[in-house]
Structure formats: C-alpha cells, structure tokens
C-alpha cells in the first residue's frame, strides 16, 4: 500500500452527504435526535432488561424442549464410512438407470441433493419430530420419468428420487434455502441446495448467502483431480477473501455441447480441481474448478471465474 493509496482509502471512510445532512439535522434539532434520548441512563438500564426478557421469552421454549441446537454442531452420519462431503458438480436428470439415480428432492422451487449419498445422520437429540413439518415427499420423480415424465415431478415441489413418503423439516440453525432434513422411519437425512428445480440459474451470491458461508466456512482447500490437497486457506481473512470471490462469480449460462465436451476432456485429463469449502459443522461444499475454461461448478450450475480471481489465483495452476 502506498501513502497515496492509504490517503485515498481514508477519504472513502465517510461521512457521506446523507450522513452529513442527517447529523447536522440532529445537531440542530436535538429533540428529534434519537440517539441522545435513547441512551439516557433510563435506557441504559431498560435496554438490557428488555433484551434479557426477550431472550428469556424467545429462548426458554427452545431450551426447554431442545428444539434449537447450537448452529454449528457437527453433523454426524450414522455409521457411515463414506466422507461427509457432497460433490455438487453439475449433473443432468438422466434417470433411465434406476440404480444410478441421483438422490435429490425439490422444495420451494429449489433442488436439494442428499448429503453423504443419502446416508442418515445422527440427529436423534435434535427432536426434529416436534417441529412443524414442511410437507411430505409424495411425488416419485424416478417413476414419473420412467413413465415419460408426464406429471412433471422432476421440477415440482415435494418431488424426490429418494425416500418417497419422507417428511420434510427445517434443519435448525440453517437457512431452509440451504439445508433441510428428511425424516423416514425415525431416521434423518440431510439435503443441501444444488440449484433451481427448473434448472434456471441462481447467482453465486444467492448460494453463498443461503449457505451463510461468511459464518459457516472454516477453511478453503484446493485439491487436484486425484483429491490430493494442494493448498489450504485457513485464516479468517483468506477465507473471507475466497467467499467474496465465489459470491462474485457470474452464471455461465447453459454450456454449449462443445463446452460440455471440453469440460469432460479436462476432467478426464486431470485438468480439473476441487475447491472445497470446509464447514464448521464438519461437512464440506465441493466445487469443481476448471481453470483452463475459466469455469467453476457451484451446485448444478457453472459460473465464470472472474478476471480478478484469475489475476489473483491463476499462479496456482501454472505447471
């Protein structure tokens, strides 16, 4: 940072014209100034009391019935040797081979994939059954597609390829736009956002915000095509920097056949990487990175790597 840069940044600290006017107005009309009245001694005593009371009123029912867990408790699969990661590279909805059917469901216009390949999680202590269900997964997408897709379940809410008949709940501590829970036969399965049910693009920023990555991300890792760890960013500043970059990526739109072929070729020749957001709850979000094509897959969609990102990180992929 040069001296000039420092001065320029300090100049941007404010105040803005709006602030200047607002403050002047409040100085000249102190009776209208909220802050001074608000912070009289009466308020200093009253505010904590009110907040305490609110905490008691809102928090007590949760404490009593255990419905609300701390946000980032580890999400433990039930006796599953598989790693707790979700590969969210784009995949189509080819359901012709039932054994290969991707495990996903639709809710509120979004598509969610079952975490850990649909293995249950140990959420027995969360008492999720005491919460209000969001609905029942009645519509069997697999059967519908095999019958020609006449019902259109593949893009409809409560359509699912797995656990038909399961009951959908919110997962406490997570935005329902990001994660939900399915309960079936007393077992709990976690699903995670991968995109829109109608295959339209969502912005990378929407994904980042619904996942609350600002708070949930613990570190960011780069792995090569054989899952060998190449680099880890773990300081809060580095992680935030990554999240900022990810949120800024623009949707690449629908890829052409040629681009699809190039992607497949890059994949088979080991020119793809996994960008992994390791979360504080022990799970991960894996994004497939193809630097050569300036693309990254987040959920079911491809996004364009920004010029800023390329300028900052392309050295990692120089051979």
């Amino acid at each position: 940072m040069t001296e000039q840069e420092l001065i320029e940044r300090l100049a941007r600290m404010g105040p803005t014209e709006t602030q200047v006017e607002r403050m002047l107005n409040q100085i000249m009309n102190p009776s209208e100034a909220k802050p001074k009245r608000r912070w009289s001694w009466g308020y200093r005593i009253a505010l904590p009391a009110v907040l305490g009371l609110l905490l008691l009123v809102i928090g007590l029912p949760f404490i009593m019935n255990g419905a609300e867990e701390p946000v980032w408790v580890p999400l433990k699969p039930v006796a599953s040797p598989a790693p707790m990661s979700i590969s969210i590279e784009p995949r189509g909805l080819d359901l012709t081979h039932a054994s290969d059917v991707r495990k996903f469901l639709n809710y509120n216009g979004s598509r969610y994939e079952f975490l850990n390949n649909g293995e249950p999680y140990d959420l027995s202590e969360w008492k999720l059954g005491e919460n209000k269900p969001l609905g029942k997964l009645d519509d069997d997408i697999t059967a519908d597609v095999q019958a020609g897709g006449t019902n259109g379940y593949a893009s409809q809410d409560f359509g699912t390829t797995y656990l038909v008949g399961g009951i959908l709940y919110k997962l406490p501590g997570y935005d329902p736009a990001f994660r939900l829970v399915v309960e079936q036969d007393g077992r709990y399965y976690i699903v995670q956002l991968v995109g829109r049910a109608d295959d339209s693009s969502m912005t990378a920023n929407e994904y980042v915000e619904s996942a609350d990555l600002d708070k949930l991300a613990d570190r960011v890792e780069l792995l090569d095509h054989s899952s060998k760890l190449l680099h880890t960013w773990s300081t809060p500043k580095d992680v935030q920097e990554w999240i900022k970059h990810i949120a800024s990526f623009e949707p690449a739109g629908k890829l052409t056949n040629e681009q699809d072929e190039q992607l497949a070729k890059a994949d088979s020749s080991g020119e793809t990487y996994t960008l992994r957001a390791a979360l504080k709850d022990g799970t991960t979000i894996d994004m497939k990175l193809t630097p050569e094509m300036h693309l990254i897959a987040i959920g079911d969609s491809q996004y364009k790597l920004s010029d800023e990102w390329l300028a900052t990180y392309s050295y990692l992929f120089d051979h």
Binding site: M1, T2, E3, L6, M13, L24, I27, P35
Partner: protein, 165 residues
Amino acid sequence: MEEPLQRTSKDITQIYQRHVHTVYKVSFMLLKNVVDAEEVTQTVFLKLMQSDVAFRDHEHEKAWLIVTARNHSRNVLKHWWRRMRTSLEETDQKQLTEQLKHDDTLGDVLALPAKYRLPIYLFYYEGYRTKEIAELLAVNEATVRTQLHTGRKLLKLRIGGDSDD
C-alpha cells in the same frame, strides 16, 4: 466582565461544514462503527454549542474538535452496552459499516490496534506533524514516532521519504 461566548446556529453550521469530515473520521478510526461515529460526531458539535471556548483560528478550532472527538470516543468504547446497541441501528448505517469493513485497504487500517490508528490518520490524512500529534493526543513526541513507525510496519506501508516530520 466578559460575556460568555454565544455561537449562533449559523456559526455552528459553518464550523460543522468545516470540520465534520475530520471529526467523523477521527471517531470512526477509533470506533470502527458508523453508528457510533455518527453519535460521537453529533455529541462533539452539541458540546461545541454548549461550550464558551473561544478559538484563536480554524486550526485551534479543529484541534479542539479532534481532542473532544477522541475523548468522547474513548468514553463510548468503555461502555459495555455499546455492542448491544449496534444490532438495533438503522439498516443503512449497518450497511455502511459492513462496506467499510470489507474495503480491503481500509480494513487493514481499521485492523490496526487502536493506539496506532489515530496517529496514522492524523499524520497521513490530516497532515499533522509528529509534534502536533503529540500535543493533540497529550503524549510524548517519541511515542508518536514509535506508534507511526510500528503502525507503518504493520501496514507494510511503502511511503516516500523516511522522516515522520
């Protein structure tokens, strides 16, 4: 007997226009929060309205405002209820705070320990000399030099010239 100084609204407005940016920036450098910086700025000018201090010139006026802003900011920092309050504030103020915190270079400055932030601001932005900063902050000049030196090192600032003066 000398009459107590009575400033008119017009006087206050003129002083405000001259120095509001400095007062706000000093407060923000110490408090790192739009809401608090605004409140301190308002309080400083309200104190000015109530004060009968006569200024020799605009520089004296500015120095008084900086010292008052700094003192009041330090008082605000002491109060435990400060953090609780920020969650209740206006959305645009919160957004501004967030924007500023995410401004990389400014974020680096704001991440400096408090004792380095104000000397760095006064020296580089306001153009005060170390001696003047020492008088404003009521500390030894050598202390200011050390604070600037350390702050610069922390910022990895590449500046032209070696002298603090």
